[in-house]
Every structure is written in C-alpha cells, then in structure tokens.
C-alpha cells in the first residue's frame, strides 16, 4: 500500500464545517457547552472532544482589502512524530501501512508527554478519563478502504485523500494555478506531514500555524538515549515519568486539571 496523505486546500474551503461535524460523528465525540467568543470559530481550539476545527481569521491589508481565511486545524500526522517518540507505551504509534499516527487509547497512561512534545499543540488531555485524544486519520475507516470522515463530508474538494505522490502532484499544480504567495505546507517539515496544506497566503499569515515545527530536543534525547535504557530497566511507565520530568518538570495536580477546562470547559 502506498503512503497516503490528506490534502487541504484553503482556497477551496468555504468553512461550511461539514468536516468538523463529520469528525465528531464518526468518532462519537460529545459536544460541550460553548459560547460565542466574538468569532464563528467554535470550539475555540482543539479539545479532547474535538479532533479538528476550522479556524476563522479576518485579514486586512493596509489598503483596507479584506480576506477571510479558513484553516483546518488537526493532527498533522508527522513522519517524524514527536508524540510517537515521546509516548512511553506506544499508545500513539505509526500505522505502518499508511504512515499516519494512530492511537490505542487502552494503552494511554495519561502521562501527557505527547502534549508537551507536539509542535502543533494537537494532543489534548482529558482529566475525566486521564487519557489524551487526537485525530487518528480515521484509522478505523482507512484500514477498511474508506476515506477519512472529514474528506467524505467536504463538498468543494478542499479536502482530498490519496497516494502521497498523486496528492503532491495535485498540490504542486494547484500552487501553480493560484500563483502569488501560494505554497505547500507540510512537505518540508518534521519529515513530511500526512495532513498537508495548499495555502493561498504565506504560512506566516495564518494565526497559530507553527512556522518551524520540529521535534523538541528533549524528546530526541529521550528517544535516542534514555528510552532504550529505561525500557530495559523498568518499563515504559517509569521512563515516561522521567521524560515528563525532563520536558516540563514535576507533575503537579493543578496542571492535570487544565487540559479540558481551559478550552471551553464542561
């Protein structure tokens, strides 16, 4: 099976949010009480119960010309995935066939190493279940030869799913058609992402988009040096805590509560 990617073309996205709803439906994610915060964007960020959102952003140039930018924010499924490297229990792991980052919630111990490691702020911790959640590229669908739910729901062709080489060609063609500042985002970072963007504007224009995502050094240290040792010594759980300590100090009760409450509450 060839490596596949999901391609999101913001110039074709109308922000109808069919994808955001389809994601909730397929993954059985409950809605939470939200309030309007002065934008259409809701929930305001990714959450343990929200694996993807469409971001809305007003942009105005100095001549008063307005653009309304939309961007699908979800797990990028890095080839060089910090979360997989940071995960002590392989709850987050590569799907060998598709090279996306799948998840086995049963194995998740809630250590949140992935939360700290991810350069895109994607994995979200849920205090109630003590587990971390994120998009798994609808692994349950794609291994059964179905396309991801968000792609299925997209009416305009802004989302596509296909073999990486085919998608890359389509992306390059689209960038050429759009001209101007259009670019491909995702192919040159973290070993290549499996959610890739065709962006009409420069990446720096999009709020919250990491310009230079990389695997944190602490995770590299852990992976290359300490993880093999700790696995030999005492198994992943203890090792995981050790990494947690390296990345963001001792685990405190306060910090545990933040994951879900800070982002929309219950």
């Amino acid at each position: 099976m060839a490596e596949k990617i999901k391609l999101y073309d913001d110039s074709k996205c109308t922000a109808c949010r069919g994808c955001q709803l389809a994601c909730k439906q397929w993954n059985g994610l409950k809605a939470k009480q939200t309030k309007n915060l002065g934008t259409y964007q809701n929930p305001p960020t990714l959450q343990a119960n929200t694996y993807m959102i469409i971001r809305f952003q007003d942009v105005e140039d100095d001549k008063g010309n307005v653009k309304w930018l939309f961007r699908k924010d979800a797990c990028m499924h890095c080839t060089d995935a910090a979360c997989v490297q940071a995960c002590p229990t392989s709850a987050l792991r590569y799907n060998k066939e598709f090279r996306i980052v799948g998840k086995d919630l049963d194995r998740c111990i809630g250590c949140k190493n992935c939360v700290a490691a991810c350069p895109f702020e994607v994995p979200k911790y849920d205090h109630e279940t003590d587990k971390v959640y994120k998009c798994d590229m609808c692994e349950s669908r794609i291994v059964n030869n179905m396309i991801p739910a968000c792609v299925k729901a997209c009416p305009t062709g802004a989302l596509q799913w296909g073999d990486k080489d085919v998608m890359m060609k389509a992306a390059a063609k689209r960038v050429k058609e759009l001209g101007g500042d259009a670019n491909i985002y995702g192919d040159k970072v973290v070993g290549g992402t499996h959610l890739m963007y065709v962006l009409k504007e420069k990446p720096s224009v999009y709020a919250g988009l990491n310009q230079n995502p990389h695997v944190p050094y602490s995770v590299l240290l852990w992976k290359n040096l300490l993880k093999p040792l700790s696995l030999l010594a005492a198994g992943g759980v203890i090792g995981g805590s050790f990494l947690h300590y390296i990345i963001h100090g001792p685990k405190t009760p306060d910090e545990d509560g933040q994951g879900s409450q800070a982002e929309g509450g219950k």
């Binding site: 074709k12 109808c16 949010r17 439906q25 309030k35 309007n36 307005v66 305009t156």
Partner: protein, 824 residues
C-alpha cells in the same frame, strides 16, 4: 431555478448577489468550484464580506436595499456600450414591442410610472399598441421611441455610475469592474449565472430586484442556456415542492390562480384565467388552462361530483382579499381567528415583527403546534414578557415524524422531484404529517356526516384514496399528483399525432394528455409524467449523462416532463443552431431535437417564439403586469438611513404593503426611518450550522456547539466609535423590539459612503430563540437541550412591511441601534 445545481459548473461568470451559498447552500459550492476550476469568474455583491465573498474573484460591497440601483447601472452599461446579444433580444424578448405613447417613465413623472392614483396603479397606459386585429405593434429595428428597447434605454439613462455609487455606496471602480466582467457573457458562447436567495426577495422591491436581473440575463442572452438562467436558491429543501403544490394562498397546485368570488362558475374561472393571444406564431401554452383546472378538480373530488359541482365546492377568495403572512398575523392580532395550526413552522421566531406575531397568538382560543420539538410558537404563552395567567389560548402539541422517518418525495431548487425512503420509525407517538392530516380529515368528515353543516359536500365528497391498512401510502398520493384516466379514453398523441387508447385507472403519461372534459385527474399538472406506467420516475437513480453537460436525465425526475433547463428553446437561434456550440442544450438532428427535453421550440425556422408560457411567446424586458411598474425602479427601503431617494422625489415604493398607516395595521406596526434613535442599517441572515428558526438544529448538540447563540456582526470602525469589543454582550434595538447578542467585531463590514455620509451596517442571524436557552424556566416535563443556545429571534427587530406583489416582509434592510448591554 430555471437550471439546476449541477449546471452551475457550465457557467463562465457566476454572480452571487442576494445570497450566500458558501454558508447557506454549501453543496452548491461543489459546482461553483468546478466552474471556477474551468476558469469561471466568481463575483460576490453583498453588504457583508461573506464566506462566499471569501471565495470570489471580485467582491463588491453594496448598501442593503439598493440592488436595483446597482443592476440598473449594469443595464445602462450594457445598453450604452451596445453589448447586448442582439439576435436574442430581437427574437426572444419584447424589446421590439411598442407601448402606449401615453406611458410615462418615473424619470419624467416625479419617480412614479403613469397611472398612479389613490395608492395604486391604473395600468392602462402601460399596455402595448395593437393593430386593428389586436396584434401587438412592433419595430424590429428597435428604434421607435415607444419601443420597449428605447423605453428601457430611457428608463435606465438616469442610472449613471456616479449616481449609482452615491446610492449604493459601492466604489465606482468596483461597479465598473463587475459590469465589465458580467457583460462579457453577452458573447453567444459565454454563459452568466445569477445565484440569489432571500437577500433579494425580502425587500419592499423584492420582485423588482429579480426582474432587474432577469432583464440583464435577457439582454445578454443568458436565459435557457447551459450555465445561465436565474437561480432562486431555495431556503428549504422542499420549498420548491411546497410552492409547486399550492402552499401559497393565491395559487392552486401547478400555479393555477385561486378562484375569487367574482368567478362563480368553472367557465367564468377558466375564461378569466386562460390567456389569449393574437400573435400568430405564439404557442401560448396556458391556453391549456381548462385541462389543468378540470384535472385538478377531479383529483380533489374524483367522480364523486361533476366538474361544476367540484368547482362550486372549492373555496373562493374575496376579490382583492389577501391572505399572505403579514395580513394573516395582522388579522390574528385583531382577533379575526379563533384557531390556528402552526404546522412545521415557528412563526413566533420566523415571522417578521415577532413581537406582534407573539401577541397575536394570545388572541387565539386554540393552537395546534405540529412539530418535532416544542418551540417558541407552541410555548409562546410562557415566553419572555408573557403572563400565562392572562392568556386564554389552549395549545395542542402534535409530534410529527422527521424527513428520515417517513417515505415520500421532495422537490429541490432545481425542480428535481426525488424520492426518499424511511430510514427509521418515528419515535413515540410521532406520525408522518400526512397521517396526522388524514386522521383530522376523517374525523371532520365523520362530524359533517353526522351533524351536517354548510356546504358539507365540500368535505364529505372529497376523494381520499390514499389509505393502505389505515396509514397513508405516499405512493398513492404521488400517483394522484401525476393523475389517472378516470374513464376509458382515446387521445391523440400530441407529438406522434396518432390515436392512443387509455383504460380507466391508467396513469396519465404526461400533461399533454390531460383533458378538460373530466376524463383525467392530476393533482398538479406540472408533475404529470412523474409517476407513470413505467413507475416512479422520482425514484430513479441512473447515473448516465447522455447530455454531456450534466443533465443526468435518468436521475430522479424534474418538472416539467423531466426538462432540466427550462426555456432551452432560447438556447438555439431561430434557425435551430445552438448559440453556444461547446455546451448545446438541445440539438436538431435533422428529424427531431436531441439533448434536453426541448422547451417551447418548434422545428427549426418555424418562427415559434420559445417562451411559450408567456401569451406572446417572448420574455419580458417590459413587465406590464406587476403592481409596482413595468421596469424595476430604485426606491429606498421603508426604513432607511437617508432623507431622500437620490434618484427621484419618490422615496419608497409607492405601493408597498404597509401596516403603519392610520387605520391599516395596529399600534405595534411602527417604522423609524431616518430616525437618530436607530442610525444603523441591519440585515438578517443565516449561518451554515443552523436551519430556519433552529427548531431542528438548536437541538443538535454538535451544531449548537459550533454556533451557540445570537451574535451581531459589527464593523471595526463602528466598534471603535462605540467602544465595543469582540465577544462583548450588546443589545440590538429597532422601533419594534430588541435582542441581546454577542458582538463579533470584524473588518468584513465596512461603512458605506452614501452621498458623502458614512453609514454603518450591522448584521444578525435569525436562527435563535428563547426556548433552548439556559436561562429560561424548564418544567418537569420539558426536554432540556444538551448544549444550550443563547439569545432570542432576530425577527423581534424586523418590520411588518412587504413587497406589493408577493407581500414578503422587508427583513433584509431596516434600521437599528446597538448599545452595550444594560445601557439605554
């Protein structure tokens, strides 16, 4: 729509004006994007920079309610630069018709057409000149000063770009850019398309907005061609179907005008409603009216009554009476009703001037609320400001099945009748609407039979052949809509010109076989051919496209006679050659037409004009039948921010249906134009996540989570001036009511430069209502939403004034103030 959704892909220029399909018809953008992929230009004209604007090549802002000024400028641009599709205009429109020399244009008559007296128009001076035989006089050179073409030129000569820009607030360069791009579709092989919705209809000049664009489309030769036409993007999945099937008071199913008191006999009715023409080549399709009226009466009463009796039983409306929405609720407020069925509707939130609507309901003795959920209407008596102890109205809630809990058809905007199947059983006591209706009917019939009553036969003799083991069988209804032969009959096939024999009980193959002698029935003649001996056409799911342009004639069925693009007879020249050779809709193969089902066209060179639904066979640049004038003229909205109409001394449409005049409406019907208390223009609209008043969508937690409540979009400049911050709670007020909303401060709304004054506009969605909020009181038996929404209906703000032709309320342009919550 004249065309259909898939056909959008064939357009070279798509104008989005009076609609926001990216938000509100999201799937349509599949086809819009396909057109764009093929090189089409996308233009969006809207007061607000919308999701559709975000995808457009050109965005032009315009002050809400000034569309006619904008389009009038386009018509002038097309005429001044002689960009018309001349062959099309001369042959297929009434451009060459000569009008009564006594006709006066608003430009020479203080903003009024000739004939205005006592609040309405006497249209006699608008008529055509005729010769001794009654044939309309014409000048095919289009030079006669009384020709429609020259009158059109004169009428729009006043709509110069400077003046249009001062009225609309659209920068001149933007106007010219839009005009230039759109007028390119005058080339015979270019197609321009217009997508409109409530942004055009909900004005006191609603019909004339659409007329203005129809004129543009005709001048450019865009009607009847692939990728062209005029698309009314419907606000509900089946609003096309409900209109086709007689939802509105003034029409029976199939657009047969409702009889009035002055038409006592079927003959009088047919004589009045059947148009005649002296144009020798005109087919005048409506000459068949008596066949359709007779077949409809047969569908109502079968053979239980003669045609004349059946006509007698049918209700007539008083001459001049009006039973449109605004009038109904005005009358309800005045105590004219004892009971009311709110069926699949939520008028307490959807009705313009909802405060008046809610008050009107307190005057009822009883109300039946048929819906999936309780709503602001069924619970009006315990809504904000109501004292249940003082309200006499008894409310009955009848739960009904949702669209996936029953079988039947819907007709989409593209006139496609599509069959749907039941996916799940309705919950609890919920029943399909037709079963509820049938139960009520059978009970009422029983009472009439036992107790009698005036004209009881009108009820007791109705044919009611839809029951199957005690339930309504939707196939039986669909078959009756199509129509049966009620007697054995030999009919000449109108196409093959040979005799065909039909047996009693056989389904009628198409409306060409319907009869005026009572031997056929048809519940809606335009649907005749939808359910035939060959089966249920609307259930077809063939995916072949023999047309090559996305016609998909084997998928479902479209009225009339499975035609996908209506007026397609105008896609070929009088010699039968397609104007657009790349995307022909119909092609003459030497013996017959191939492609789409041909519309109105005779054999090549026959001279038959193709707009056969018009008595004279051509399309109307000049429309002498409307209440407010034969040409669209710019008038200000009833509530507007400027003192004067910059175009003429007549400020507003002189024949608006308004309720604020002494002796007309009620004390609640107030308007505030140019009133410093209400300085900002406001418009209502929808978001992707909610539907109508939100009765269905507010209860869906995933949708409520994405759009959790009432907001008001406010431009950055205005917010700065007033000190509003995004996310802050504010109150929007009009002369009629107020509603709290979260401020969304955005550069997507900008002030308009109107004749040197900066005028701000704000906008509000109308999906919300108090019934699903966290702060209301819930009784022990009340269902609580999983995710609450915030805020009440935007229609608390909108005015009760309407278009003089359709009487639709002006919800898209009215005046408000916005203040921080808690500040007066």
């Amino acid at each position: 729509m004249t065309n259909h959704w898939i056909d959008f892909q064939n357009s070279d220029v798509i104008l989005i004006m009076g609609s926001n399909p990216a938000s509100n018809h999201p799937i349509s953008f599949k086809w819009v994007m396909k057109a764009v992929d093929k090189g089409a230009k996308l233009i969006c004209v809207d007061p607000r920079f919308t999701q559709s604007a975000a995808k457009s090549h050109i965005y032009a802002p315009l002050r809400s309610g000034t569309d006619i000024a904008f389009l009038g400028g386009m018509i002038k641009y097309i005429l001044d630069n002689d960009l018309i599709h001349r062959d099309y205009v001369v042959n297929y429109t009434n451009a060459s018709f000569l009008v009564n020399p006594a006709f006066k244009d608003p430009g020479e008559n203080k903003g009024l057409f000739s004939g205005f007296a006592e609040g309405k128009y006497d249209k006699s001076t608008w008529a055509y000149q005729t010769d001794g035989a009654g044939v309309i006089r014409k000048d095919r050179s289009l030079k006669d000063p009384n020709s429609v073409y020259q009158l059109l030129k004169k009428h729009y000569s006043r709509y110069n770009v400077d003046l249009v820009s001062r009225i609309t607030g659209t920068p001149k360069a933007k106007l010219e850019e839009v005009y230039r791009e759109y007028a390119k579709t005058a080339a015979p092989d270019k197609a321009g398309n217009i997508l409109y919705a409530m942004g055009w209809t909900q004005h006191t000049v609603g019909v004339q907005n659409i007329r203005a664009m129809s004129i543009v489309q005709l001048l450019l030769g865009n009607m009847g061609v692939a990728g062209g036409g005029v698309q009314a993007l419907r606000g509900e999945s089946n609003v096309q179907g409900s209109t086709d099937h007689g939802l509105l008071f003034h029409i029976w199913p199939g657009y047969l005008g409702t009889p009035t008191g002055s038409m006592p006999t079927l003959k009088a009715y047919n004589d009045k409603r059947t148009p005649v023409t002296r144009e020798k080549n005109s087919l005048n399709w409506w000459k068949n009216f008596p066949k359709y009226s007779a077949s409809f009466l047969r569908s109502m009463y079968g053979m239980n009554a003669s045609l004349e009796e059946a006509y007698y039983y049918m209700p007539k409306i008083d001459d001049g009476a009006n039973y449109s929405w605004l009038v109904l609720f005005d009358q309800m407020y005045k105590g004219a009703f004892t009971g009311f069925f709110a069926w699949g509707m939520n008028p307490a939130a959807s009705g313009a001037h909802s405060n008046k609507v809610r008050q009107a309901m307190t005057k009822l003795d009883w109300m039946v609320n048929v819906n999936l959920f309780d709503n602001e209407t069924g619970s009006f008596w315990r809504g904000p400001g109501m004292d249940p102890t003082k309200i006499k109205t008894e409310v009955f809630m009848l739960p009904c099945a949702s669209s996936v809990e029953k079988e039947g058809s819907i007709s989409n905007s593209g006139r496609w009748m599509q069959w749907r199947y039941k996916a799940v059983e309705p919950p609890g006591a919920a029943k399909p609407d037709v079963d509820i209706f049938s139960d009520i009917y059978l009970k009422v019939k029983d009472l009439y039979q036992k107790e009698g009553g005036p004209l009881k036969e009108a009820i007791t003799k109705l044919s009611w052949n839809y029951l199957d083991h005690g339930h309504i069988n939707p196939h039986l209804i669909a078959k009756e809509v199509n129509g049966y032969f009620l007697t054995d009959k030999v009919v000449e096939d109108p196409v093959k010109k040979e005799k065909r024999e039909f047996k009693k009980g056989q389904l009628v193959p198409s409306f060409a076989f319907l009869q005026d002698d009572g031997s056929t029935s048809s519940g809606c003649w335009i649907y005749c051919a939808s359910y035939t001996d060959a089966g249920n056409m609307s259930a077809r799911r063939g995916t072949k496209d023999a047309s090559g342009i996305g016609g998909y004639h084997e998928w479902a069925w479209s009225w009339p006679v499975n035609r996908r693009i209506i007026y397609n007879g105008a896609s070929v020249d009088p010699e039968g050659k397609p104007y657009d050779k790349k995307r022909p809709v119909i092609v003459w193969n030497g013996a017959k037409w191939t492609g789409d089902v041909p519309d109105g066209v005779g054999n090549p060179g026959s001279g038959r004009p193709p707009f056969i639904m018009k008595p004279d066979g051509v399309a109307s640049l000049y429309g002498p039948g409307l209440a407010d004038g034969p040409f669209p003229e710019h008038y200000e909205p009833l509530e507007c921010p400027i003192e004067k109409n910059l175009l003429s001394p007549q400020k507003v449409n002189p024949v608006i249906r308004r309720f604020d005049k002494p002796g007309v409406g009620t004390e609640l019907d107030v308007v505030a134009s140019c009133d410093p208390r209400f300085p900002f223009i406001c418009s209502t609209y929808r978001v992707s996540e909610h539907w109508q008043t939100g009765v269905l969508t507010r209860w869906l937690p995933w949708l409520a989570e994405m759009q959790p409540g009432m907001f008001v979009e406010i431009g950055t400049d205005l917010a700065r001036e007033k000190g509003f911050k995004s996310g802050e709670m504010v109150t929007v007020k009009s002369a009629r009511g107020q509603v709290d909303a979260v401020a969304i401060v955005t550069p997507r709304l900008k002030p308009f430069n109107i004749d040197g004054n900066l005028i701000h506009m704000v906008g509000v969605p109308w999906h919300f209502g108090w019934a699903t909020t966290a702060t209301r009181k819930y009784g022990p038996n009340d269902k609580k939403p999983e995710v609450f929404t915030f805020g009440d209906s935007a229609n608390l703000l909108t005015p009760s004034a309407g278009d003089p032709n359709t009487h639709i309320p002006e919800s898209k342009a009215f005046m408000v103030n916005v203040v921080k919550k808690g500040v007066n």
